[in-house]
Symmetry: C2
Subunit: 227 residues, 2 copies
């Protein structure tokens, strides 16, 4: 995409003081493909910023375009007004995306855990003001919800683009973290009579509910039945 | 629970400046039962705190006990070391729990949305140092993953309790926010040939995978098949 930094020459993000975890560092990854896959699978991110010295964490829609993350908001929302107010420096943010994949039930209470994959992005967010970049970002946000959907909907008009606020965050200081695999009980607990194992969490589409006023002959699109 | 503030005399949390949203205030709720239900359904929360002036958002396990939230960590993790360092004042945090319930596909790109339920808790977290409270919190964390599970596992011993760090946050400055319902397209878009409607996201347990070293005769417990 126009203006996207060409940082794909290396296969991994460079670890920094705040992307190296203090615990379980073996669960961390800086691999770009791994990070992209986790980001692309999520529906909402958790956007953290500082307001009056205190942390604020809000769920919001987002999309990845190359090495940029676009985070959606309204022009009236607090974080977006804050990026606007701080026109030059932007707004320091932390964006986190997490998938819970399975429950890990151990024989001991202590070793209960979950299998998960998460990505944490640190950086400074800036308002997207260029209309063309905003249009592409809005398409990306729609396609992030359902791949290919932006081509099957009416594009935003000028008024809608003006009413949409999008902030941009470069993928630069980024790490992924995950837990996979089975139970890690103590050897002396193995004979205990408690069931232990992994319970995967299933995810998928339920039955789509069409809008009551669909235009006659509008069929359910293939991209909703494929998953 | 011992020491839990008796704040259940009112049915709702008192809105504050930071729990009243600047946009879509009609989607906000302060009802205790609604907040509790959203919190109790989640597996991970997103814990936000400020480190060196910048926001940090980390996914972690949590559990609610009455009007208290317990957030799990290791004694080596950053936020927990920070609460320890700030022994008196505690650590200002924001804890957010979000459920994505459905994708909302509109005829217009602009009106695409998701149906969700979220809770945002602002407050100051404190280390749990009392061994009895810590034990109850650890039980609650296990039961939050699977209800009733703490009774069907070996309780934590002294060493494990010492290795577990838990922080506590009172439910006081709290709000829920949700979007439900169908598509909100513009009247002039209704005749467009694009499918529009709501796609629910299904959630549930997949097939449990028992640990290879289960004690002979250990059956899958009923609480894993009931859902």
């Amino acid at each position: 995409m126009q203006g996207t930094p060409e940082t794909t020459s290396t296969a991994a993000y460079t670890p920094t003081d705040r992307t190296v975890p203090t615990r379980s560092p073996e669960r961390a990854s800086y691999d770009r493909d791994a990070v992209h896959a986790i980001l692309d699978e999520g529906y909402v991110c958790h956007l953290g910023f500082v307001r009056d010295g205190a942390p604020v964490v809000l769920p919001t829609l987002y999309a990845r375009v190359g090495e940029r993350l676009y985070v959606h908001g309204s022009t009236g929302s607090r974080p977006l007004r804050m990026t606007g107010r701080q026109d030059g420096p932007g707004l320091p943010v932390c964006v986190t995306v997490t998938h819970v994949d399975a429950l890990v039930l151990a024989r001991s209470a202590f070793h209960h855990s979950i299998n998960y994959r998460s990505v944490v992005v640190h950086g400074v967010a800036h308002d997207v003001t260029d209309p063309e970049e905003k249009r592409l970002a809005l398409d990306a946000l729609v396609d992030h919800v359902v791949a290919g959907r932006s081509r099957d909907s009416r594009p935003a008009d000028k008024k809608e683009l003006a009413a949409t606020a999008v902030i941009r965050l470069d993928l630069d200081e980024v790490s992924a973290k995950s837990r996979t695999g089975g139970v890690s009980d103590e050897p002396e607990d193995l004979a205990l009579p408690h069931w232990a194992g992994v319970v995967p969490l299933s995810k998928g589409y339920g039955t789509p509910v069409p809008d009551a006023a669909l235009a006659p002959g509008t069929d359910l699109p293939g991209y909703l039945t494929a998953r």
